[in-house]
């Protein structure tokens, strides 16, 4: 599940919440983290940012698939 950044601790650490749990993780592998962004957490580090607009596009992609498979 994506984690949401809720607090910036210092240059290399952020607090995230995932499934209602708060956790301090390293942000050393992502650029310019900001509060409200969603990230993928792996072994205690933010591995990638997760793009909400792309998530919405992927959810919509399904309806395109349902109506017209050629658009996949």
């Amino acid at each position: 599940m994506p984690a949401e950044i809720v607090q910036l601790v210092d240059a290399n650490e952020v607090v995230v919440t995932v499934g209602g749990i708060r956790k301090t993780v390293s942000s050393a592998l992502i650029e310019n983290p900001s509060v409200g962004e969603f990230v993928l957490i792996h072994v205690g580090l933010c591995l990638a940012k997760i793009d909400r607009e792309e998530a919405e596009r992927t959810l919509a992609l399904f309806s395109e698939l349902a109506s017209d498979g050629e658009n996949a």
Binding site: M1, P2, S26, A28, L29, I30, E31, F38, L40, H42, V43, G44, L45, L47, A48, K49, I50, D51, R52, E54, A55, E56, R57, T58, L59, L61, F62, L65, A66, G69, E70, A72
Partner: protein, 396 residues
């Protein structure tokens, strides 16, 4: 009828009705092809990543697939592909260095080693072996125990390698003299190449699902060449049930339409064309590729493993703790090697559910949270149960 589930944006990727609607579309796509050709066609689709294998069974997706769509389980389970000799080597160091603290991920602890040993049994016998969640936790262990050597056993593909690189950089920043890393990191593209080069009669794969988390680091670009060269399409997928069902449908459509040399990115919310440049830079600063690395199931694969660069050799456990790399054979009846190659399924193995069970595993695929045997053991009954009612819901 279970009511429709509406949650937050990301929870919608687990929405049951959405998954069932895509499954229905998949059945139509497969059946449409049947009618046109007059013969049944089958689709062997490999999910490279062990995380995908577990998701397929955990969410019962297997039970929603048309009969012609077969999932083949790939080698993307870092613990499974680690040869037993590496575990033997770690145990030897633990036996020799009595004040050594070994930190590693939980998956590694129960992998069977020579002489019926495992890291967990060594721990029970008194070795100081600690399970950590993050390599940065191992750095903290070293900082808090400056008079004792601490070895982090670093396993995994491009998803964990950048984290290990950050840990080594952090140890260097802190000036730690007692932190060592046994670097067993692996690279995905050479393994993909190895799988795709296998003769068609051994592993017939019509298309494959690309590892979403690995690709969030390496990007789409490094896998494109495989689709183009081998003519088997790739869809990079997320890990929620809707992600996988969409990806399977996309693959079947690509195959049906002859778009065999293409790669699609279903997991675009986390995977960019060129991946995570910060993570890639962190990796290349600390690691370089090894000429060869031994994989269980494949033997030596060129340029498939990472070692620590000479600039960081003060943190390299291989030299600092004189780890002896030995190559040993697997248990003679264990089918893990063939399962890793996608040539056998877990229930083809005579040991599965009998001599080999989670409480006394014979091979690594039964231990790892990404192993195919562990997935079959945990979920296959649930999956067969699900087949009963799911079949009614998906009207093909």
């Amino acid at each position: 009828m279970i009511p429709s589930f509406s949650g937050t944006l990301f929870e919608q990727f687990k929405d049951r009705d959405r998954v069932l609607r895509v499954a229905e579309q998949l059945h139509k796509e497969v059946n449409g092809k049947l009618v046109k050709d007059g013969v049944g066609r089958s689709y062997s689709l490999m999910e490279f990543c062990g995380g995908h294998t577990h998701a397929v069974f955990r969410y019962g997706l297997n039970s929603l697939l048309p009969a012609g769509v077969k999932m083949v389980h790939g080698p993307g389970c870092p613990v499974c592909v680690l040869p037993q000799g590496k575990i033997d080597a770690i145990i030897k160091v633990a036996e020799r260095e009595s004040d050594l603290i070994i930190c590693t991920y939980a998956d590694l602890l129960r992998i069977p080693a020579a002489g019926g040993k495992s890291l967990l049994k060594q721990k029970a016998a008194g070795a100081d072996i600690r399970m950590v969640y993050s390599p940065l936790d191992a750095v903290k262990v070293a900082a808090n125990a400056p008079d004792r050597p601490v070895m982090f056993v670093a396993i995994g593909f491009e998803t964990t390698a950048p984290a290990t690189a950050v840990a080594i950089s952090e140890a260097s920043r802190l000036g730690l003299k007692n932190f060592f890393v046994y670097c067993l990191h692996l690279l995905t593209p050479p393994a993909v190449q190895k799988v795709l080069q296998a003769p068609a009669e051994t592993v017939a794969v019509d298309g494959w699902i690309g590892p979403g988390h690995v690709c969030s680091v390496i990007g789409v670009a490094p896998l494109r060449i495989f689709a183009e060269t081998h003519g088997r399409p790739v869809v990079i997928s997320g890990f929620a049930p809707l992600d996988l069902m969409q990806s399977i449908l996309m693959l079947v459509q690509m195959i049906n339409r002859g778009r065999l040399k293409e790669i699609s990115n279903q997991y675009s919310r986390a995977v960019l064309e060129n991946g995570n440049q910060v993570a890639l830079a962190a990796m290349s600063r600390v690691f370089q590729t090894r000429p060869f690395f031994e994989w269980r199931g494949f033997g030596l694969i060129a340029n498939s493993g990472l070692r620590i660069r000479d600039e960081f050799s003060a943190y390299d456990a291989e030299t600092c703790l004189a780890i002896e790399d030995v190559s040993v054979g697997d248990h003679p009846a264990c089918q893990c090697a063939a399962i890793i190659r996608g040539q056998r399924k877990p229930d083809d193995c005579k040991l599965f559910r009998r001599a080999c069970r989670p409480e006394h595993p014979v091979g690594p695929c039964m231990v790892s949270s990404e192993g195919a045997c562990a997935a079959y053991f945990q979920f296959i009954n649930a999956e067969r149960f699900a087949r009963g009612f799911a079949a009614d819901e998906v009207k093909a």
